[in-house]
C-alpha cells in the first residue's frame, strides 16, 4: 500500500487554483477575436453548399458526390437501420415527464428512443469496447508489432474482438471507426453493425474529427468536425449505428486548461450532442483531460469539476436531452509524473467527489476511458470507484480501447499472421476483469490503481 496521503493541499472545492491565467486587455481582445473567428467559421460552414443542398431536398438523401457504384457502403446507404431487438435489461423506470414534454423540440417518441438506447448502453455490469481507431492510428499499432496494416487485417482483427465468446455478457456497446461500419463478418456474412446487434451489442461510430490548435493559447486545441456532421451522422445511422462519440482532449498545465479552451470545447460537445439527437443517435460526450503532467490529485479535481460543470451547463443551454446522452470521461488522476503518491481509494474518492459536484442525475451512465492507464490500474480504480460510490445514481463503467487492446497487440510480435485465437482468449479474460470492475467486484492486486511517483517506480524496478 502506498504511503498515507501527505498533501500540501489547497481547497478541494472547485475554486480555480492560482493558475497563471492570461489577463489583461491584450489577451481579452485576442480571446474575443478567437471567439468571433470560431463563430464565423462555424456559421460559414453550416451555410455552405453541402448543408444547403441537403436541406433543399428535405429528405435523407445523399449528395451525389458521395455515391460509388456497387460499393458495400453504397448498398447499405439505401437501407434503413433495423430496429434493435433486445429490450432494456435495466430496471424499468416510469417514463417521466410525459405531460411536461409537450412543446419540446424532440417528439415524445424521439426522446423515448434516445433514452432507451442510452439506458441500454448504461446496463449495469456492462461496458463499451472502443475500436474506433482510424486506419492510420491502428496502423501504427500494427506496424509497431510487425503486422502489416491492410484493410483485411483490420477487418479480421475487429471481427475477432466482436465475436470473442462471452463478449456480449460484458459489453453493451462498441464504438466503430466509419470504415468498420461497412465491413462484413465472414462467419455471419452480415455487416458488422447488424452482426453486433444480433449479439446484443449496440454499434456506434466515431465520426472523423480533426484537431485544431487555438491560436495564441500555447497549444490548446478544439476538434473540428461539426461541419456536415448531420449529413455524416445520417449516413452512419443508415449503416446501423445507434450512437456516436466525440472526443475533446484537454491538458492540465501552466495556465491550462484555460477558460477559453474549456468554453470552446464544451460548446462544441453540446452542439455535437444536439445534432446527434436531432439525427436520432445517442451522443456520447467525451471531455478527455490528459494524464500528462506532474499536477497533484487536487489540481486534477478542480480542473475536472470546472470542465464537467461547463459541459453540463452548455448541454442544458443548448437544449440537449440529458436522459438520452452518455458521458465518457477520463478518470480523475494525478499527473503521470506527479511526485506525490496516492492510494487507489484516494483516487476513487476523488472521482466520486467530482461526479457528485456536477453530474446531473438525468444522464444514465459514465463510461470511463483508459487514456494510457494499464488495464490493471484502470480496473482497480473503476472497481474501487464502484465500491465507494454510496448514493451515486449513475452506471459507472468502462469504455476502453488501449487498456484492452495493447496487450493483444503484444501477442502479435514475431508472428507471421494475426494470432486471432490467442488474442481472443486474452481479450475474453480482460473483458471479465472489466465487467467485474464495473460491478465493483474486481479486487486489485498489490498496488494496482495506486499512483506511484516516477522515481519510486524506478527504484522498485531496480529492486526487483
Amino acid at each position: 500500500t502506498s504511503p498515507r496521503l501527505r498533501l500540501p493541499l489547497r481547497l478541494i472545492i472547485p475554486v480555480p487554483p492560482p493558475l497563471k491565467m492570461r489577463i489583461g486587455a491584450k489577451s481579452a481582445i485576442l480571446t474575443l477575436g478567437v471567439c468571433a473567428a470560431l463563430v464565423a467559421l462555424n456559421s460559414y460552414a453550416s451555410s455552405s453548399r453541402i448543408g444547403a443542398g441537403l436541406a433543399a431536398t428535405g429528405g435523407r438523401t445523399r449528395p451525389a458526390r458521395l455515391s460509388r457504384q456497387n460499393s458495400p457502403r453504397n448498398q447499405v446507404l439505401s437501407r434503413r437501420g433495423e430496429a434493435l431487438q433486445t429490450s432494456s435489461r435495466r430496471a424499468p423506470q416510469l417514463s417521466v415527464g410525459a405531460a411536461c414534454d409537450d412543446g419540446a423540440y424532440l417528439s415524445k417518441d424521439q426522446k423515448a428512443e434516445l433514452k432507451r438506447i442510452a439506458d441500454l448502453i448504461a446496463t449495469p455490469g456492462k461496458g463499451i469496447t472502443a475500436v474506433d481507431e482510424g486506419p492510420g492510428t491502428i496502423g501504427d499499432r500494427f506496424e509497431n508489432v510487425g503486422v502489416i496494416n491492410t484493410e483485411e487485417n483490420r477487418r479480421k482483427y475487429r471481427q475477432m474482438l466482436f465475436e470473442t465468446p462471452g463478449a456480449p455478457d460484458h459489453l453493451s456497446a462498441a464504438i466503430l471507426d466509419p470504415e468498420t461500419l461497412y465491413q462484413k463478418s465472414d462467419t455471419s456474412g452480415k455487416l458488422f453493425p447488424e452482426s453486433l446487434k444480433d449479439m446484443g451489442i449496440l454499434p456506434g461510430v466515431k465520426p472523423h474529427l480533426k484537431v485544431y490548435t487555438l491560436p495564441g493559447t500555447n497549444g490548446e486545441t478544439v476538434m473540428q468536425g461539426l461541419d456536415s456532421l448531420a449529413m455524416r451522422l445520417r449516413e452512419y445511422k443508415e449503416a446501423g449505428a445507434v450512437f456516436a462519440k466525440w472526443r475533446s482532449p484537454m491538458t492540465i498545465g501552466e495556465g491550462q486548461p484555460s477558460d477559453l479552451a474549456i468554453q470552446a470545447n464544451m460548446n462544441d460537445l453540446a452542439r455535437y450532442a444536439l445534432i446527434c439527437q436531432d439525427e436520432g443517435l445517442v451522443p456520447i460526450v467525451e471531455p478527455d483531460v490528459s494524464l500528462k503532467g506532474d499536477h497533484d490529485l487536487e489540481t486534477a479535481i478542480v480542473a475536472n469539476v470546472k470542465i464537467q460543470s461547463a459541459l453540463y451547463k452548455a448541454m442544458l443551454d443548448h437544449g440537449v436531452y440529458m436522459e438520452g446522452t452518455i458521458l465518457k470521461v477520463n478518470m480523475v488522476n494525478p499527473g503521470k509524473s506527479c511526485k506525490t503518491p496516492y492510494s487507489v481509494e484516494e483516487i476513487a474518492e476523488a472521482n466520486v467527489h467530482v461526479l457528485r459536484q456536477c453530474m446531473p442525475v438525468a444522464i444514465p451512465g459514465v463510461n470511463y476511458l483508459s487514456g494510457g492507464q494499464s488495464l490493471e490500474d484502470a480496473a482497480a480504480r473503476l472497481s474501487t470507484i464502484n465500491k465507494l460510490r454510496k448514493n451515486c445514481p449513475w452506471n459507472l463503467s468502462f469504455s476502453w480501447s488501449a487498456a484492452l487492446q495493447m496487450p493483444l497487440f503484444e501477442l502479435c510480435r514475431g508472428k507471421d499472421e494475426l494470432p486471432l485465437a490467442e488474442m481472443s482468449d486474452l481479450y475474453a479474460k480482460e473483458l471479465k476483469v472489466a465487467s467485474d470492475a464495473a460491478n465493483g467486484l474486481h479486487n486489485p492486486n498489490g498496488s494496482d490503481g495506486a499512483h506511484i511517483p516516477p522515481n519510486a517506480k524506478q527504484m522498485e524496478a531496480v529492486a526487483a
Binding site: I12, V96, G97, E349
Partner: protein, 385 residues
Amino acid sequence: CGRSQSRMGDHTTAEKRLRAICSHVFTKEYKHAEELIATAQTIASPGKGILAADESIGTIGKRFKGIGVENSRENRRAYRHLLASTEGLGKHISGVILFEESLFEKMDDGSLLVDGFKKEGIVLGIKVDKGTRYLPSTDGELYTQGLTDLDKRAKKYYDFGARFAKWRAVVKILPGKGPSNNAIQETAHSLARYAAICQNNGLVPIVEPEILMDGDHDLATAQKWTEIVVSACYSALRLQGVLLEGTLLKPNMVLPGASCKKRYTPADNAAATVTALQRSVPVAVPGITFLSGGQGEEDATIMLNALNQPGLGYRPWSLTFSYGRALQKSVLAAWKGKKENVPAAQKMLLLRARANGDANLGKYTGYAANSGEASKSLYVKNYAY
C-alpha cells in the same frame, strides 16, 4: 453496488471520505466545513422539514390583518412564541427560519423566544436578505439586496446560535419570453455570493431561486426555466467556491402558471419537478426544501407527497418542505391573537407538520384535508415579502 432508494449517505462516512482527500480543508481554510455538512444533513433528515416563520414586520402585518390582530411587537412575539413552545414540534420540524427581530427576541421572564425551538432540537435559521428591488432596464424583473455587511451579520447570527440562513431571489417568467439573461445571471451570482459569505461564517446557506407562478405559461415552460435557472445557480455556486455538501436548495415546485388554462395532475407536476431537478441539481446537495409558493396547505402537502412516490426515477437528495404560508394559515386562523386559542393553534401546527413530514416519506393519506384552512389557495399575484 445496490442502487437503493436511500437519499443520503451516512454523514460520518462522507466526512471521513472528504477528509481523506483533503484534511487541510477542515483545519485551515474551511474551518466550518464539518459543521456545515452535518447541519445540512440534519435539516434534511427523513420525515422532517423547515418551518419558514421569517415574515418581515410588514408581511406578518398582512397576516395579522387577515385575522384581525394588531401588528404590534407584543403580538409578533406572542405569535412566534406560540410556534416556539409547541411541544413535539421537533418530531417533524428540523429547522425554523426566523426574522431578525424574532431571533433575538426575549420573553418577559428574560428567557429567549428561541429557547422552545432549541429544546425541541430544531435548528435555528435566519433570513438575511433585505427584500427585492426592481432590476433597472428590465420589464419588472427583480433583484434581491442584502450583501452589504452580510459577513458581519452572519457572524453575529452564528455567535447567537443560528446555524443556517435563507436568501430569497425572485425570478419572473415574462409572458412569451421567460426571465431575461440579465435576471438569471444576477440571481445566480448574488445567491452564490450570499452562500459563500454565509459558509465562511458558519451558516448553511439555503439557496432559494423562486420562479414565480405568475403567468399563463404551461408546465413544460415552467420546467424548462427551472432547469436553466437552477443550473445557472450551481454554476455560480461552484465558481464561487461554495461547499455544495453544506447547502440546501429551496426551489419552487415545477407548476403551471397561475392563470394557465391547461389542467395538470399532481403526478404531472411531480414528474416535471423531479425531471428538472435530475437535470440540474448535483448529487452533492443533501436536501431540497421546497417553497410552497402560494399553494394552499393541503395542495402543498399533496404535491410533496406526489414528489416522494416511487417510480419517478432516482432522487439522491431528500425532497422535503420549507413552508411558510402552507404551514401557518390554519394556525393563524385558529389563534386569532387570543391566548386561550394557543393550544388549538399549536395542535393545527403539529397536524400540518406531521402531514408534511409524512409527505416527505411519501406516506401522506390525506388525513389533514378538512382541518382549518387546509383547502384555501394562498396565491397572491406578484408576491413579495
